[in-house]
């Protein structure tokens, strides 16, 4: 890696660690100072390395510079707090040399605690995702703006307000009490899953960025799995689900960057390591007596990694959707459930059920009906595909529907 590549890479991997440790040390109310010191550290690195060449151990170099900058900040604060303020109180005590602990353990603990602080129910999920990307993933403001399809100014404002709110709420960077862990984890998992979906289903054309979002979501979830306090069944289920989905990442786009539908994907591009990791975490998630929506979605995602159309596959998928919908309704789950019903039971039954769904503003609803009527009543099939076509908003989906119509 050249120096030009190394600094952005280190920024991505080390920024979040240094910020978390410093914020933890200073307190959440000084998170901006922690961010400034960290950014400043990277600026110093760019300037010094450009002139003197790379140090032997760039990470250790960054840590030691960040440490010194942080210590100087604390000393200045200390002098004010202890000397001047105490002098006034006429009760002077010697200022202590502040320590900054950048050991792997403290880095890990601080990041985990930071995750709980950022994914706090008092701020919106959008703000949680933004802050997570900035502070836990080391994303630049521009990249975050790109991911949300908005501008830098909007993101800056959103992050600023979110930090203000967390300060007002006097959020500490610490793990919540044991009896609240499960509850608070729910918010974190929801944020991680949204972050993943932002990458997986985003309309952003930037494929590299989208993949990064998915990988970051998986990394955050893995941090939770690797800590005993947060290694809960639902966390494993979410990680499993993301592994299964991410296994198809390379197959989902063609060389031109357009989406390739599931049925047309080249299965040799599916990633076997991720599929097997998904299986591993799915097993780990079975450790308990609670079934979360992530368990059910991971089960469905598992079957998506099995291409052959077997009776067992569709019966399992149908039952998983039946249960998922009882926990949480969504139009897409309702449509997928109906598709599974057509495969597991019969097309006729699925048509009857589809007509009860009442999703007449949804292009996928008509796409599904088009598919169900095919070979039963081709006229109805075409009519429904036409309605789907009228509702579809992207060129890719129009092409996909037209291709299906051409086959009738």
């Amino acid at each position: 890696m050249t120096e030009g590549e190394l600094i952005p890479h280190l920024f991505r991997t080390e920024y979040r660690k240094i910020v978390s440790v410093l914020s933890k040390r200073f307190g959440f109310n000084q998170i901006e100072i922690a961010e400034d010191i960290t950014s400043d550290t990277f600026l110093t690195a760019t300037q010094t390395w450009g002139v003197n060449g790379l140090p032997e151990n760039p990470v250790a170099w960054l840590y030691s510079v960040a440490k010194n900058k942080a210590k100087n900040h604390l000393k200045r604060n200390n002098i004010f707090e202890n000397k001047i303020v105490q002098e006034i109180k006429n009760n002077a005590s010697a200022p202590q040399d502040p320590e900054i602990d950048l050991s792997p353990e403290n880095i890990n603990d601080s990041q985990l605690q930071m995750m709980f602080a950022i994914c706090h129910p008092s701020i919106s999920t959008e703000a949680q995702i933004g802050l997570s990307l900035r502070i836990l993933c080391g994303f630049g403001i521009e990249e975050i703006a790109d991911a949300f399809l908005t501008n830098k100014e909007t993101i800056n404002k959103r992050l600023f307000r979110a930090k203000e709110k967390l300060r007002e709420e006097k959020i500490d960077i610490e793990l919540p009490p044991t009896n609240q862990i499960e509850n608070r984890l729910e918010t974190i998992l929801a944020t991680i899953y949204l972050l993943f979906n932002e990458g997986y289903y985003s309309v952003s054309q930037n494929k590299t960025l989208r993949k990064e979002l998915c990988l970051e979501a998986m990394r955050l979830c893995k941090m939770l799995v690797e800590n005993n306090t947060t290694n809960k069944p639902s966390v494993n289920a979410l990680l499993s689900l993301m592994c299964f989905h991410a296994s198809r990442f390379e197959a989902r786009f063609n060389k031109g960057g357009e989406t390739v539908l599931y049925d047309e994907q080249d299965t040799s591009l599916w990633n076997p390591e991720l599929i097997s990791s998904g299986g591993y975490y799915l097993n780990c998630s079975a450790n308990g007596d609670q079934i979360s929506k992530y368990h059910l979605e991971a089960g469905i995602a598992y079957w998506s990694t099995q291409k052959p159309d077997t009776a067992e596959k569709w019966e399992s998928v149908l039952q998983l959707y039946n249960r998922l919908l009882q926990i949480e309704y969504s139009p897409i789950a309702a449509l997928n459930r109906t598709y599974a019903l057509s495969k597991a039971n019969s097309k006729e039954e699925a048509i009857q059920e589809a007509e009860k769904l009442n999703l007449t503003d949804n292009q996928f609803y008509f796409g599904l009906l088009g598919e169900l009527w095919q070979n039963i009543d081709n006229k109805k099939s075409k009519e429904n595909f036409q309605k789907a076509l009228d509702l579809s908003k992207t060129e890719t989906s129009r092409q996909a529907i037209q291709a299906k119509m051409a086959k009738i």
Partner: protein, 115 residues
């Protein structure tokens, strides 16, 4: 939309009337497919199955083993759904697979909201 409670009544006590494990599995599929269809319309609110054993508390501190009723059928579970009106609720309830068994019933009751 209003909420309706569906009460499932069937014979859960007579030994000869209980399904074999294979049949039970088939019944569970039918039940889940039915409930899944309601949930897919965003009309499922909640529901649980109930234990076969029970206690019945009565006047004068009398407690008996139950569940029992004047008939052999007892409440096996309940489901709460959202429906436009009684007709809509009854339409959904009538798809319940337990109704394939003679003597079984699904009682539909509207949840009263304080006005």
């Amino acid at each position: 939309m209003e909420e309706f409670v569906l009460l499932f009544r069937l014979d859960i006590l007579t030994k000869e009337k209980q399904p074999s494990p294979e049949l039970l599995q088939e019944y569970m599929k039918q039940y889940q497919d039915w409930i899944g269809g309601i949930a897919a319309q965003n009309k499922f609110v909640g529901g649980k199955g109930l234990s076969t054993e029970g206690r019945v508390c009565k006047f004068n501190n009398v407690v008996t083993d139950g569940p029992f009723a004047e008939t052999k059928e007892s409440i096996a579970g309940y489901t709460i759904i959202r429906a436009i009106d009684f007709d809509d609720a009854v339409k959904m309830a009538s798809g319940c697979p337990i109704l394939k068994g003679e003597g079984n019933s699904v009682e539909v009751r509207k949840v009263q909201n304080p006005k």
